[in-house]
Symmetry: C2
Subunit: 124 residues, 2 copies
Amino acid sequence: MISINFRDSRPIYEQVKDSLRRLIVSGALPADEKLPSVRELAAQLVINPNTIQRAYRELEHEGYIVSVPGKGSFAMAQSGANTERIRALLAQFDDAADELMYLGVPAGELRARIAEKEAKGNEA
Amino acid sequence: MISINFRDSRPIYEQVKDSLRRLIVSGALPADEKLPSVRELAAQLVINPNTIQRAYRELEHEGYIVSVPGKGSFAMAQSGANTERIRALLAQFDDAADELMYLGVPAGELRARIAEKEAKGNEA
DNA sequence: CAACTGTATTAACCGTCTTAGTACAGTTAG
DNA sequence: CTAACTGTACTAAGACGGTTAATACAGTTG
């Protein structure tokens, strides 16, 4: 479900954040779904609870989850559009598309990928 | 031309790499164009020459530039398709698209962005 | 020869990531 | 109520990577 790569230069807490965000975005973690507890996920990944805590704290700050002392952490329905995050994602999207086309990947293939996601999103 | 952000958590040499790669990809730096020397760019950005050297070394390893002792560093025409880089870029592209659509950005807008790039690429 | 180019190497500093250990308050099942 | 869970906070220590500084050497060029 969630995996981390110790060889990766990226911090573990970032990898955990991205994994969880991807699970939420993909629908694998619907709103109000309970996440593993800080200690449980730490034990599962064999890393320190502090590292998980940091990932959860930042995900909550980004509006993807909500943590309640004593109860747990839960996936959260996206409320207000996160304009700042959208701006960053669009920049990432454009950069990747620009370089891919420079490297010879046809624009049609990129558009087809979008269309495929659109279909998958509607079937769910 | 090339700018770095000291507040950014990303390493300076990565920022330099991305700036140069973007200049090459966008066509601002055509093949065989001479890049600033290691020391010159370091002085311009007020950072250590070693940091520039590292950026150049890795860009050469990625096939974006070529460095010749005594002469300088030059933008390089993309020869063989860099399959590894393309794979990573497609993953980045997909992740951004997935989350953008999750956040409510319509697929049509993403496709329109691709089409726009396609048009710009053809006019050049 | 002089001034440039890339390249290599060593040492030192500093910030961040991660771990370990402990502690406290809220929640919940028995 | 108690026990076991939950999130949260804090300090200390170690490890690692990024960056700088200071040289040094070889190839190129006017």
